[in-house]
């Protein structure tokens, strides 16, 4: 689902009052490029344990969530 389409279908957001209160540009314009994982990894080189180096691995415990890997652009 693209950004514009999401912006038009804000019905998805009704559950999240505080996120909805934000300027939608704060979240709808994320292109999932993965650059921020570099920042995340720089500050958090060890998420939970030293065996986990990728933040996306850290969220695998969330039921049903399939993170998008940025592939070659990932700086980890």
């Amino acid at each position: 689902m693209g950004c514009r389409e999401m912006e038009e279908r804000r019905v998805y957001l009704t559950k999240f009052k505080f996120i909805e209160d934000l300027d939608p540009r704060s979240y709808l314009h994320c292109m999932q490029c993965g650059f921020c994982t570099e920042g995340f990894a720089m500050s958090m080189p060890t998420v939970k344990t030293s065996t986990v180096s990728c933040p996306l691995e850290g969220v695998e415990a969330i039921p049903g969530f399939e993170p998008v890997c940025p592939g070659e652009r990932c700086k980890l």
């Binding site: 957001l13 996120i19 994320c30 292109m31 650059f35 921020c36 995340f40 720089m42």
Partner: protein, 393 residues
């Protein structure tokens, strides 16, 4: 941000596991910095220049609590601590702290001063309110002592609220209990500070902690959440301690004549002082103006500084993760060959000092005898402590 997108698109549901994971974010803002700058010239990121990951993660924590997901146990302990020790007949019954400490111990550090600060609960007036904050008051009081000594040495007209000083509400806001933050911290604090402005002539609040400064200066004003918060305007101006110190040096109220002392230091930019408040050069200008200090920069500095591990209430929620994040920063500091690791926030001092101790870093060694060592003996120091050591106050 992928987590947020997955939630909004209905691919995942709010859950206890999700709360556990998002409490690992330190709100350091480095992801946002990287996103804004797009280090790779081959990748164009024009739209993401308006993405604010920290804000969204904060809102997500608050939404999860609102939807009935409990905070993680250690964060719940902090919220409980913020609710205890209220005394109905006190001047400020809201003066609690997140560390489970007693309200009456908040001003215990003042016993190390050889002068009396104005007590703004009494019939006095002052231009500045010195706001120490919970971390410096209870965990690293040597920073509080240094701040008061510098203002006193410079002849600043300031007062203090002693044991009635309030918590800024940062832990409640960042953990995600926004109703508590609004009703028990931000609103009463704004009322308290405006009362000091009207009745005691307090024109400026000078905050020692970068977290308190950010709360007073940015978040009490923040209209991005206006529909929920809707705060009154805070009347006094807000300054972070380094801003006032730089002014005092430039006005020559604080002078540092050559005295044979020399400290080789490296400077850690607190995430909130640097990336959020934009005070990146202010501490460096202070260092530049003090001939006894020689600065060696770390590899990641200024807006690309790493977190000390305390941000986002991570150190309190996940102590081991906070410790490891701080260790990475201490390693960087060690690579510079500096003798002292210096910052301008008691929370960073806490994070870096604990990490330095845990890894037996050279910064855990005892500082020289010019430093106050009642509470902490090592070489992770606040810039205000360095200045006091040089001045001999």
């Amino acid at each position: 941000m992928q987590i947020i997108r997955a939630l909004l698109e209905g691919r995942i549901e709010p859950s206890k596991e999700l709360m556990e994971d998002i409490t690992l974010c330190t709100f350091c803002g480095l992801c946002r910095q990287i996103c804004h700058n797009g280090n790779d010239p081959n990748v164009s990121l024009p739209i993401s220049r308006v993405t604010d990951q920290e804000l969204v993660f904060e809102a997500l924590r608050a939404d999860l609590i609102r939807l009935g997901i409990d905070p993680i146990p250690k964060h719940q302990d902090m919220l409980n601590s913020l609710r205890v020790n209220r005394v109905k007949d006190a001047w400020n019954p809201w003066a609690t702290n997140p560390f489970g400490e007693k309200k009456e111990d908040r001003d215990k550090w003042t016993q190390h001063l050889d002068f009396k600060m104005k007590d703004l609960r009494e019939d006095v007036e002052a231009e500045y309110l010195l706001h120490i904050g919970c971390t410096a008051s209870y965990l690293h009081p040597d920073v509080a002592v240094a701040a008061a000594k510098l203002l006193h040495a410079a002849g600043v007209d300031f007062g203090y609220l002693y044991s009635d000083e309030p918590c800024c509400g940062w832990p409640a806001k960042k953990i995600g209990d926004w109703l508590m933050y609004k009703e028990e911290f931000a609103e009463p604090n704004i009322e308290l500070f405006n009362r000091l402005y009207e009745e005691k002539g307090v024109e400026k609040i000078v905050a020692v902690c970068s977290g308190c400064t950010k709360m007073f200066y940015q978040e009490y004003y923040d209209d991005r959440f206006y529909s929920f918060f809707g705060f009154e305007k805070l009347k006094p101006d807000v300054l972070h301690l380094p801003e006032l110190i730089l002014d005092l040096i430039e006005e020559e109220a604080l002078q540092f004549p050559e005295n044979g002392t020399k400290y080789k230091i490296t400077y850690h930019d607190p995430c909130r002082t640097g990336r959020r408040l934009g005070l990146i050069e202010t501490p460096r200008k202070i260092i530049e103006k003090v001939p006894q200090l020689e600065l060696v920069e770390m590899k990641n500095n200024r807006e690309f500084s790493r977190c000390c591990g305390v941000g986002g209430v991570v150190k309190d929620g996940h102590p081991e993760v906070g410790l490891q994040i701080g260790m990475k920063r201490v390693e960087e500091a060690e690579e510079t060959g500096a003798e002292y690791l210096v910052s301008v926030c008691p929370e960073c001092k806490r994070g870096l000092a604990e990490s330095a101790d845990a890894m037996k870093s050279k910064f855990a060694e005892e500082a020289d005898d010019r430093f106050l060592k009642t509470y902490y003996k090592g070489k992770v120091r606040d810039l205000s402590e360095m200045l006091c050591a040089i001045l001999g106050v």
